[in-house]
Symmetry: C2
Subunit: 201 residues, 2 copies
């Protein structure tokens, strides 16, 4: 009985695009609908509110992003290699996004999370949650590197947390300066923080 439709998916895509390149409050429901080629009534057929659309869009975005994360953090490669691949993935991804949108966009979770943390508790929590998932990859990698003796000792949670903060901070600077070269010191600094020898020198 259902009429097949990709309107819902188009709304998710449009929302992520627009919120990422601009901001949550800077983008109107009308804009999202126009980009998605969907009428406003349909919007509210699929989602109860603008916030709920954002929640769904970010959750869906993570599902895609997760595929690449699982590949990079594959247990097939050494912990050190995973960390380096992770940096490469981030840089490559930012390049693609910049080519698509014409400017450096940084991390969408960080952008919307910062913007909405003091305004919308639900959105704040979604972003916190996504960061925690990201953190788990890093923490277990650090832990494994330490037990295998390739990384200097230190609290794995604190180190992973620092790695995440460093990366997010760099992505944010890249967005504000609209310049990807901000990411240049990433690998070197990751190695220093994680206490592993830098393979590139």
């Amino acid at each position: 009985m259902a009429r097949p439709s990709d309107s819902r998916q188009r709304l998710l895509d449009a929302a992520l695009d627009l919120i990422w390149t601009q901001s949550f409050e800077g983008v109107s429901v009308d804009q999202i609908c126009e980009r998605a080629g969907v009428n406003k009534g349909s919007f509210y057929h699929f989602f109860p509110s603008k916030s709920e659309l954002a929640v769904a869009a970010y959750e869906a975005g993570w599902q895609e992003w997760k595929l690449q994360y699982d590949a990079v953090f594959s247990l097939q490669s050494t912990p050190v290699q995973r960390l380096l691949d992770w940096g490469r993935l981030i840089r490559k991804h930012q390049q693609e996004i910049a080519a698509k949108y014409g400017r450096i966009c940084g991390c969408p979770v960080s952008s919307m999370g910062t913007e909405m943390a003091g305004i919308d508790e639900k959105l704040r929590h979604v972003c916190q949650d996504l960061f925690e998932r990201d953190l788990r990859y890093l923490e277990s990698t650090i832990r494994e590197a330490q037990t295998s003796g390739t990384a200097a000792p230190g609290d794995p949670h604190a180190i992973a947390s620092s790695l995440q903060a460093l990366t997010i901070g760099m992505l944010q600077q890249a967005r504000i300066r609209n310049d990807l070269s901000v990411l240049d010191p990433l690998e070197e600094s990751v190695c220093r923080l994680a206490g592993i020898p830098n393979p590139s020198r």
Copy 2:
């Protein structure tokens, strides 16, 4: 002939407060006026637009912040001590702000910069500019630490840039999680990045 008034200053204060705790687009001119106890007509007497008010508010905010920076980065103390004091200043400041507003607010420059980078070129540039001023303190401190032999060698600009990114990233995480303990690994990670021995262990 001028009627003395502190309306302008009250508008600057109100704007910084509201934009910091919420966001630029999430705060209306009416709200800013109400908080400042000023009528809308007066607002547009002093500032041509909401954006220009934000520019002025952030510039004025930096002037205050600069005093504390100059104290912390005084040439009286050793480079290492400056870096540690810097971390302490940031933590102390966040505590005060959190006590004032009831939640962790993070870095106002980073928040507004991220939000408006893709929307308002002027605001983007103001934030970029403020970060560059911050970076100069760090870079010259790193350089001095290296020449005095207390820090391991490495490109001072890249290291300072990483220190800045780490801090901004942590502040952002603290804002999103509304939890100051995110800053706990700050000193340790600063030492690792800067290549200096950690005095606290």
